[in-house]
Symmetry: C2
DNA sequence: TTTCGTGCAAAACCTTTGCAAAGTG
DNA sequence: CACTTTGCAAAGGTTTTGCACGAAA
């Protein structure tokens, strides 16, 4: 997949992320570099388990993955997504240029929606005195494939 | 709190919800009536535990609360919110007229944002062939109160 | 009566925590 | 060297599952 702009090319994104760690007085460790390497190179949010699994060689404990993701989420290096299956997933946070997801209610497949229109809500929040504002937005639906083979489309439909 | 319109007055909302259960061939049981009574009368999303706690007298098992909420979410009677603390919370689903929340990153207080601007994204999803489309949108920030007494505002800031 | 919902108990699951050892700046 | 991060083991907490019983349509 070609990248929209230089800033989001894997290498730059990785360098950026590491820079953010330093800016927040966080240590740049092997596990963190490895995790961010994956998150900047591969696309699509991963759960802590999935990410840990991808670290095969230079493996570290799953706990470290959890802790790192949490720390990096707090400083905005990664973004946390909730796809409604009791498991949080993380993706690299490209700042302004972020997107959202459509999650199939049935097969849990994920597609990207490269558009965000939440500016109005964030502005209101800011006017209410909130700081460090972020948001999460996920869209759910039944994907075309699943809609077709649905046995009883109305039973579990909204 | 006065209600925006008759449709969202507690009694009507409750009747509506029960009607939706029947429309989906779901049984109208005591626990479900009680749960929906609370969800239509009291405001603010509740976790399964919280809801169960509010059922004191006509109590049922927590498991039933979990199962009912899940079932009612699937048919769109309630909406599930993720406030980033590993606990799902549910609120009655007023269909079109829904709102969103600002959650304080620090004290977890919640305020309502009575506005939704996700139409564009939902439209795109529909054009992609998705059906039964819904979404979740939560805004996070540090509330004014917490921003003031923050010891090291930059350490955990985005 | 047939199907769906509930209770109870137990499991599954993801995530967090404590503490000593190791690594980073 | 001071401070942060990691590993391991264990706990925590929420949510799910199985099965027999009870309730709704």
């Amino acid at each position: 997949m070609p990248h929209c702009c230089a800033q989001h090319a894997p290498d730059n994104a990785l360098a950026n992320a590491l820079e953010q760690l330093r800016a927040h007085e966080m240590r740049v460790t092997e596990p963190r570099k490895a995790m961010l390497g994956i998150l900047t190179r591969e696309h699509g949010p991963f759960s802590a388990e999935e990410l840990h699994h991808k670290l095969k060689g230079k493996s570290c404990d799953v706990v470290t993955v959890y802790r790192s993701l949490q720390a990096m989420e707090e400083i905005g290096v990664v973004r946390r997504c909730d796809f409604g299956d009791n498991t949080y997933r993380y993706e690299i946070n490209h700042g302004d240029h972020h997107h959202h997801h459509i999650v199939c209610r049935t097969c849990r497949s994920v597609q990207v929606l490269d558009l965000c229109a939440v500016g109005k809500l964030e502005r209101i929040a800011r006017e209410m005195g909130y700081e460090n504002i972020t948001h999460t937005l996920e869209i759910f639906g039944t994907c075309p494939k699943c809609a077709k083979k649905q046995v009883r489309p109305d039973k579990h439909a909204a």
